[in-house]
Subunit: 236 residues, 2 copies
DNA sequence: CTTAAATTCAATCTTTAGATTTAGAACTTA
DNA sequence: TAAGTTCTAAATCTAAAGATTGAATTTAAG
């Protein structure tokens, strides 16, 4: 599934503080008809200048580098908003590193110890707009990802056990929802087409159930228990 | 890399509302010496009862089901806190579904259209404690994941550009900090050893600067702009 | 059919909250 | 030294918030 010969070669920049290693990669890639290494960079600052200047199709970024690390570098490059795709490169299959690299936008992640065929395959996949993550690393990523999700949940909720929000009725939830948008009694009454005194009744019941004394505390309780999750959830 | 013969077979429960399909999977799996299907379930409620009862090693969960969907089901099963590992199963490679399934703890995700060899491989990998996500689906996942990360960033911050919190003085930040804990004027005054009227002055200035009308809105603004980030940040 | 819960509303009352104006003291900077 | 900012504070006033009691209606559950 290589790109056809009449298309121009994809331009690659290699970022690695180890010159020998960078050269090795360069030669390896230049053997391929679809790719050409247009520059090497030994540190992050040089890399960013080169990337700004040449806007390469792909950057191969070593993660373990002195001074500024590769993760920060990826983040900086992503901020430039170019079409350049970044593939991370390290010696270790550290779950945390993989997670962070992918989180900030790396399009692939490969180990230096992996066969050269994998490197080329990564270039191919990423060039086609896909993500390349070997199954071993994919597995590592999800280890970390799912652990992070579990923590997030444990933090937000204590899901059913002591979530006083579960005692609210439907209407009370509606009212609380509007409170969490900073709306007054009058405003809530208008939006729900009910009288202001009714709103007050609901709000008082909410306070009782949530064991708080005023709306600010109620709103804070709601947010901390993940009440506003809906809005944050519909990010796509 | 199959498990040795002397080990007991892994026990599998198949959840699918389509009986024919469930039977197909059952026969397929029962051909393998390492696995046995101990039950089928046509809907989520039955599935959960069976899982509680038999505590299988693996659950194959169809995502597209009537009434309660598979995603919710996975979430419920995860709440049980068993060692049971869940592999999601659908007809479509929808990025959103894959993301949600993996987020809540599925250990694998495969398409019904995929070859039976993939199903067995998924069982093998997951049994060994790894994640199984075919590269096509892995790529889909990251599409969604990275988009979500980008939105999260854009949502939380507008990082430096228009954060009205930057205009607050030190004292005002202190006061706002107490407001975000749901404390009254009187309480703030006591904690800061100043008079209540002084607190009111500060709060009014805060409202001006944040362009809001009351404390609830001020607190919401602060939280949305990451004012309380300290506490939430330390999830890992 | 009866009970219980949910939703609605009124009236009354007390307490905060919030707006506005004015101003002194401390500290910084031109 | 003068001007500006920050922090402090009081006085006054209006508007909102919150507590409490009591009650009618609807709907779900037993």
């Amino acid at each position: 599934m290589r790109r056809a010969d009449f298309k121009r070669k994809s331009r690659v920049i290699v970022v690695d503080d180890n010159y020998d290693h960078a050269s090795g990669i360069r030669e390896l890639i230049n053997l391929e008809q679809d790719y050409e290494v247009i520059a090497n960079a030994g540190n992050v600052n040089v890399a960013i200048s080169l990337i700004k200047k040449y806007q390469p199709d792909i950057v191969l970024m070593d993660i373990n580098m002195p001074e500024i690390d590769g993760i920060t570098a990826i983040s900086e490059i992503e901020k430039l908003g170019l079409k350049t795709k970044i593939i991370a490169l390290t010696g270790y299959d550290d779950a945390d590193l993989i997670y962070r690299a992918m989180k900030i936008g790396a399009k692939g992640y490969i180990l230096k110890t992996m066969a050269s065929a994998q490197l080329i395959r990564a270039l191919d996949e990423v060039t086609m707009g896909k993500i390349y993550l070997p199954s071993v690393l994919c597995s590592k990523f999800f280890e970390y990802f799912q652990a992070a999700q579990r923590n997030e949940k444990a933090y937000n909720a204590a899901d059913d056990e002591e979530n006083l929000l579960n005692y609210l009725t439907n209407r009370e939830e509606e009212v609380l929802g509007l409170l969490t948008e900073g709306i007054t009694y009058k405003g809530v009454a208008q939006q729900l087409f009910i009288s202001e005194t009714t709103v007050k009744t609901h709000v008082n019941n909410i306070f009782q159930k949530l064991q708080v004394n005023d709306r600010t505390q109620a709103v804070l309780y709601a947010i901390n228990k993940g009440f506003g999750a809906r809005k944050k959830a519909k990010i796509a």
